[in-house]
Structures are given as C-alpha cells and as structure tokens.
C-alpha cells in the first residue's frame, strides 16, 4: 500500500512544484493538496482540497483521505496577492497549531515535514559567523516572519514530544532562489537599482528551487540507509555570496543608504505597500546570515545539486541583464588591456591607475 501525502500551501510556486514532483515517486499512492485559495498552476493528478488550515476542517481532511505523511509548506513570509501581514501571521501560527492538533488526533500520521527558514537565527552583529542547528540566536527575532517561524518551530517541538511515534523533520531553508522564485528577496534582486545599507556587505546563502523540492521529497520518504531524516536541518547551497558580488553578477548598480534612512525608507515603502521590505529583510541585508550544512550532508544525506553561486547564476539567467551587465564590464576591461601601452612605466601602480581608468570606461559603457 502506497503512501498518502498531504501537502499544505500548494497555491505557491514551490508547493505546486513539490506536489507535481512527489506524485511521480513510486511509493506515493495519492497526494492531497490543501490551500485556502485555488492555485493558478496545475497540480498534476493530486486531489486539491480547498481548506483553510486555520479551521478545524483540516482534521476531517486528514481522516477522510487516510493521510500518513504531512508536508507543511504553508509557513511563508509574504502573503499571496491581496493578503495582509495579519492574515499571513495567522496562517503561519494558528494554521500550524490547527494542523498539528489534527495530526495529533490522527493515529495514521507517521511523518511530518515542516518547511521552516534560517530566519529563526535572526541576524545580528553579535552572532557567530556560521550558525549550526544548535546555535541559540543572540537576539530573538522580534516580529515578522522570523518570529512566526520561531513560534512554529516551538509548536512542532511540542508535537514531537507528544507524539514520539511520528518522525518529525524541520527543514530550515536559506533563501530559496530559482527561475520561478517569488520570495521577497527575489523581488529585491529584480529592482533596477539595489538599495544597500551603507558600510555593510552581508553574506548570503541560497538554495535552488530544484534542491528545495528534492530535499522535501527526501524528508517525506523513509530514510535511506545510513541516514536519518528526522530532526532539524539547515538547508543551503555550498559556499556563499556577498551582496556586492550578487549585485555585480546581476549587473545591477547598488545605492548605499545610511542605516537609519534604510529603516525609514523601508517603513515608508511598506506603508505604501510598494514592496514588502520588512525589518527582518533589512536585517538580513545588513548583517547577513550563513548556516552550517554539515548535518544536511552527513546526517540527512542530502547533497544539493546547486551551490549558492550556481543557484544565483540560474536566477540571474532568468532575470535578464541589468544596467551594468558583467559581460560589458569585462569587455571594457579587456579593451583597456588590449590598448598598446606605450611606456608602461608611465602608468603608476597597476592597481590604482588602471582601476581608475577602468572605472571611467565602465561609466562610459553604462551611458
């Protein structure tokens, strides 16, 4: 008898992709896709149940379909079109509580996978450079999605205590990027000019969407030999990128703004609901965050196909060139290099002199 998988949050891109992908796994008999709104994308052969996980109806859904694996992907930072921050928080926290309550009632549930976020670590200058799964955050996130994620993980831990027979896997994802990504960070990287915090160059880590789907699949099946897929795991691609590197690879100029001004601008933009430039987003873009992925590789046995840089490159390809395409800049430098350097001694210092010249030419090529 195959497994019956219930997936929440399927109206989002990632949820939809996961539902379509997991149906092809041989051990899966049926997939029940749940969300409060009908998805715009197709879900393959999955049974879509329009249910709000904040309502107790979810208990009935679990019982009716005989669900044994629950994949909770409805913990998200930004609302789908038209939702307010308040409703997102309710879905995140109250929805999780309802879902966990339903799981506790259902004797058939054997496995729970929760999509969390590395946001739970917060982001502060006093934090260690690399977070492991056990690092306590120095400053707990005070609000927004990060706080939701912390609370959700708290309820999940409580559930794991009450139902020790259920394998619980919490996956803390770094920023998920890819061609179809619709996260706030992807929106930020799509701005023509990237506002940055003056004097800070945060370290960022990314996971590719394909890897995110794969690791969710890995966590929702029986563990492979020699691995363990219950517990809490950081999920991130190898390596990291600095924000300045990201901007250069995207070919988008940056606009450094002083930190207090950033907070005001962010608040103003949020009030006008231009973008969702939340405080935790600003903190991430100020101090950055890097997590250790040894547990993911050694215990969970998952090796991402994309490194952070490759995931970002794939995202860049999907977004089209910015105002300062890296290829054009490289070409400008090559043209300078090809110039006949009569009396090379005239150019003082390969570093300073050449750099100034190249900067000028970069400006010309931009204009």
């Amino acid at each position: 008898m195959g497994k019956v998988v219930l997936v929440t949050g399927v109206a989002r891109q990632l949820g939809g992709r996961f539902v379509r992908r997991i149906q092809r796994d041989p051990e899966v008999e049926r997939v029940v896709a749940v969300d409060a709104v009908p998805p715009e994308h197709h879900l393959g052969g999955a049974d879509f149940v329009q249910a709000d996980i904040r309502q107790p109806t979810i208990t009935k859904v679990l019982a009716e379909h005989g669900v044994d694996t629950v994949v909770h992907m409805d913990v998200t930072g930004a609302a789908l079109a038209g939702g307010s921050r308040g409703s997102v928080k309710e879905t995140n926290v109250i929805g999780t509580m309802q879902l966990l309550g339903a799981c506790q009632k259902s004797p058939r549930v054997k496995r729970l996978v929760v999509k969390s976020s590395t946001n739970v670590y917060g982001s502060a200058p006093r934090d260690p450079a690399v977070f492991t799964e056990t690092t306590p955050p120095k400053s707990l996130p005070s609000g927004g999605f990060a706080k939701d994620a912390v609370e959700v993980e708290g309820y999940v831990r409580g559930f794991a205590r009450r139902r020790p027979d259920v394998a619980v896997c919490v996956l803390r994802f770094a920023n998920i990027l890819g061609p179809a990504a619709d996260s706030p960070l992807a929106e930020y990287f799509s701005l023509p000019v990237l506002p940055t915090v003056f004097g800070y160059d945060p370290r960022l880590q990314f996971v590719h969407e394909d890897d995110a789907v794969d690791v969710l699949r890995l966590a929702s099946h029986e563990p492979e030999r020699g691995t363990l897929n219950s517990g809490t795991f950081n999920i991130a691609g190898a390596g990291l990128l600095l924000l300045s590197q990201c901007a250069r690879r995207l070919g988008r100029p940056t606009l450094p703004v002083l930190l207090p001004a950033v907070t005001w601008v962010g608040a103003a933009l949020r009030t006008l609901s231009v973008t969702d430039f939340s405080p935790e987003q600003i903190r991430l873009l100020t101090h950055g965050r890097v997590v250790a992925t040894r547990q993911m590789r050694e215990t969970l046995g998952f090796r991402p196909k994309y490194t952070t840089a490759e995931a970002f490159a794939d995202f860049v390809r999907s977004r089209g060139p910015g105002l300062l395409p890296p290829a054009a800049l490289a070409g400008a430098v090559d043209r300078i290099a090809a110039l006949p350097l009569a009396g090379g001694g005239g150019k003082s210092g390969a570093g300073g002199g050449a750099r100034r010249g190249a900067d000028d030419s970069a400006h010309h090529s931009a204009n």
Binding site: Y200, D201, A350, G351, A354
Partner: protein
C-alpha cells in the same frame, strides 16, 4: 620616554627557574638564526616566490639589534616592494593567457603587473571571486588590504618580527597576543607580520570584538580581511579548518588601558581561548608586541562621553581630540613582534577542556610567557622611536 623603570627581572629569575637563562641568551641571536633557517626553508618550500622571502629575510637579519637602524631601513626599502611584486607576478599565470600578444621585453615586469591588475579588476567588477564562510576575501586581502597596510608596517612602525618559525607550517594554531594602543593597530600589524614573513605564506585570522561588527564600513573590511567575531563557535570552527587564529584575550581592558599601565598585561578574559584550543588540540603560540603601547598615549578617558556614544572608552591623548583628525595619526614608534615557543595542547585528554583548573593554569602560563617576553624586549629596546 620612561621605559627603564619596567624591569622586575630578579623576580623573574627566581620564579622562572632553570628555564630562564638559556632563553635569554638565545634572545639577541635569534633573528639571525631565524633568517638563516628561513633562507634554507623558504627556497624549496615556496618556489612560486623566489625573491619574495629571501631578501626580506636577509634585510631583517640586517635589522638585528646590533645594526644601525638607518642602514636596516635602507636595506628594507627595496625588499618592501619585492614581495608585492612577486606575488602579483605569481597570480599572472592565468591572466597572461588573456593577453597573448603581450611582448616580454625589458618592460615585461610592468606589462605583467598591469595585466595582472586588469585581470584582478575584471574579476572584481564581474563579481567572479570567492569568499569563505566567514566572509574572508583572500584575493582582496592579498592584493589591496595588505598593500595598503604594508607601508605603515614597513616604513612607519618599522616592525621587526622575531620567532616566526614558532608558527607551525600547517594546521590550526592559536596565536595569543597582548593588546594595546587605543586603536587596534597591533592586530593589523600582526596580520601583516604573519602574512609577509611566514615561509608558507599563512594567513592570520583575527578574532575581533563585537563592536567591530557593529560599525559600518569597519565590519565590512574586517570580514573581508578574514576577521571574525571573538566567540568560541567561530574560533573553534576556524581552528578545525586548520586556520591560524589570532586572539587578544585582554580585549578592551588591554587596548583601552591608561598610558601609565603600559606593558602590564590585564586579565585574560575568562580563558575561553584555552578551552577552545584544548577542544581542537591546537597549539597556542604566545605573541608579544612592543611599540603599540606608545602610539596613542592615553592620558585620560572621557567615560561619560564614551557611555553616550556607546563605546567602551573615549581616549584623551596629548593630540586627540584637541587637534581633531590630526590627533588620530599614531606616533611613529618602533615595533617588535615576537612569537614565542608554541605550547602544545594535544597531549591532554578530551575532557581537559572542561577542567577549570587546567584552564586557569594554561591561561597563566601563556600570560606569563607573554609578560616575560615583553619585559625582555623592553630591556633590549634602545628607544621608543628607534
């Protein structure tokens, strides 16, 4: 300046026991020995930089205590340029392919340097460079940050390095140094000292106070130069990766102490560095830095102002803040950085890291070794400025 009052040497002899005399005798001779050892080692070990270390070693041998300082300086000036040049040239193997038509004539050195600079610029502009988990940008550090610090290191503070051979050639090691000077120039100079003198070209990864990572610009440069927050997690992670980690356990107590207490080591934190070293089995290399205490003689501390600004101390020196930005210019003192004999920690059982008594003993051992070396170096020093 009065640095003759320092010396409680007779106490030392009675305490130090049989160990002391041979170590002191070997003191003056060490630079020469070190240079010889370095010459022998450097040639086979680092074939990529044939004239990077040898002249550096030679002119540092010339700077042994007996030599005239001006001569030493003169000999060093060409040597100062050489490491940078050879390093730039070494990196050129890749970019040269991009410029096949480059003639290799008399101006070949310049051409290659320019080509190297352009290739570097190209990588920077397109973002195609690597950064490690801690934000350390090796390329930027080698080519830009170190080049900016090197004139200060070579010509301004005229740093003399002793005992570089005490730093292991590979594997993790914890360098523990005294901290002084109001602004952390000593850490930066120690980083240059290891970078430019170690025959295996090791990089020092400094542990910095959280204040560094709160300040804009400073935090960015610190991360790129390979510094990270002084906490057990980061230090342990770096040591496990086999990095060379530099720590100044005195912290703000050391760097912000008044001028009257110069060269008196403060309490070494809570000894957390020892348990980190024990846990990873890394040797501890004590390091004594002489000269940094006098760069900003701190004669007062505006505590109220410091509290308002949220910084641990607000220094008042003869020039700061009275002369404005001019007061930030450090005094051109002559520096000596001595790396002492490494203290191994791999012989202890794994539970030793949890043993507070052992931790205190090791902390004291490191602290006393640094303090004694400081006194010794102060006796040898002829003047603060030469």
């Amino acid at each position: 300046m009065a640095d003759a009052k320092v010396i409680p040497f007779d106490d030392d002899r009675s305490r130090g026991g049989a160990q002391r005399p041979p170590r002191r005798r070997s003191g003056p001779r060490r630079p020469g020995d070190g240079a010889k050892a370095r010459d022998v080692k450097a040639v086979p070990a680092a074939p990529g930089r044939p004239h990077g270390d040898a002249p550096g070693g030679a002119d540092r041998a010339g700077a042994a205590p007996g030599a005239e300082p001006s001569v030493a300086e003169g000999a060093r000036a060409p040597g100062a340029g050489a490491p940078g040049g050879s390093r730039a040239a070494r990196r050129d193997t890749v970019p040269v392919q991009a410029l096949p038509s480059e003639p290799r004539g008399g101006g070949g050195g310049w051409d290659r340097r320019i080509a190297g600079g352009l290739a570097f610029l190209r990588r920077r502009l397109t973002g195609e460079y690597d950064v490690d988990d801690f934000g350390y940008d090796a390329e930027l550090t080698d080519q830009v940050l170190m080049s900016l610090l090197r004139p200060i290191y070579d010509n301004y503070f005229r740093v003399e390095v002793k005992g570089i051979e005490n730093i292991p050639a590979e594997g993790g090691a914890l360098i523990v140094a005294n901290h002084s000077g109001t602004l952390p120039w000593d850490g930066l100079m120690m980083q240059v000292a290891v970078h430019d003198n170690h025959p295996h070209g090791r990089h020092l990864r400094l542990l910095a106070a959280d204040l560094v990572f709160m300040l804009p610009v400073v935090n960015e440069l610190a991360r790129k130069a390979g510094h990270t927050l002084a906490c057990a997690e980061d230090a342990g992670a770096l040591l496990e990766r086999g990095e060379l980690v530099g720590v100044m356990p005195e912290g703000f107590k050391g760097i912000g102490k008044p001028f009257s207490e110069r060269y008196k080591l403060q309490r070494f934190g809570r000894g957390g560095f020892v348990s980190t070293a024990l846990r990873t089995g890394s040797p501890i290399v004590p390091c004594s830095i002489v000269g940094a205490e006098e760069i900003y003689p701190m004669i007062g501390n505006a505590k109220t102002l410091a509290r308002v600004l949220g910084i641990p101390y607000f220094p008042l020196t003869p020039t700061f803040p009275w002369l404005g930005p001019l007061g930030v210019v450090p005094l051109p003192t002559k520096w000596t950085i001595q790396f002492g004999e490494a203290i191994p920690t791999d012989g202890y059982p794994p539970e030793a890291a949890e043993d507070p008594m052992l931790m205190f003993n090791l902390t004291d051992q490191v602290r006393e070794q640094i303090q004694h070396t400081l006194y010794k170096l102060l006796v040898q020093r002829r003047s603060v400025f030469f």
